[in-house]
Symmetry: C2
Subunit: 135 residues, 2 copies
């Protein structure tokens, strides 16, 4: 794990801490100031732009349905000024699981979120690698 | 739309052409050669690494269940050497719709896919912007 990867994973942790604590201010600080923010809540269409994205977080974090959530198995890929995290979200004592993609950009030296997509999944056997598998 | 955005959207189109044509070779060319590929098929856990990701595409494209698919409403965000596309996938004459996140990296001057996540959604009213909305 490089220091960039550590920084990105720390930003990813901040996202889930803000989510679990229903801390709208922390969530607001975490998202990039740019208008290119995109957010895909489970089962929703994509929301585009910071205003729409933050309105959705306000509705979720201030509503009754905000889940107890924690993040597991986070992996970061740093691509210069952007970074991609994939992780598993565990909901409410482990009953539900979602797979999430979180994308961050470097903004004034800090990793800020510009994209979040989460969707439920069920664990499946991995596809079989045939000997002639492409590579 | 900048020329970089056009190039990224063209790569995104190539992905959906390969998918619709069940063209495994084209799909293989499109994915980055790096081992950091991640793919989240609808309802699946994340698949990590080129080998696992391509094995899944082989299973899908050579199987009976490959859907007729087309891409709509694609929007690109270019972040230096990485780019993010969000779009809607229409399946089988418009009955089903998925929201997709596709991430590309510049590899030897060409945009190659390193991440794909698609998940079904239903259209919802946008969250209401209250006057005190964060920005």
């Amino acid at each position: 794990v490089t220091s960039s990867e550590r920084d990105v994973l720390a930003a990813n942790d901040s996202f889930y801490r803000a989510f679990a604590a229903r801390d709208l201010e922390a969530m607001n600080r975490l998202w990039a100031k740019k208008e290119l923010c995109v957010c895909v809540h489970p089962g929703w269409q994509a929301l585009h732009g910071r205003r729409e994205v933050m309105a959705s977080w306000r509705a979720i974090l201030e509503g009754d349905g905000a889940p107890d959530i924690r993040c597991e198995e986070a992996r970061a890929i740093v691509l210069e000024a952007a970074a991609l995290v994939s992780c598993v979200e565990r909901i409410d004592d482990g009953d539900g699981a979602l797979v999430a993609t979180n994308v961050f950009v470097l903004e004034d030296g800090a990793w800020r979120m510009i994209h979040h997509q989460a969707a439920p999944f069920v664990e499946r056997p991995l596809p079989t690698d045939s000997p002639e598998a492409l590579n």
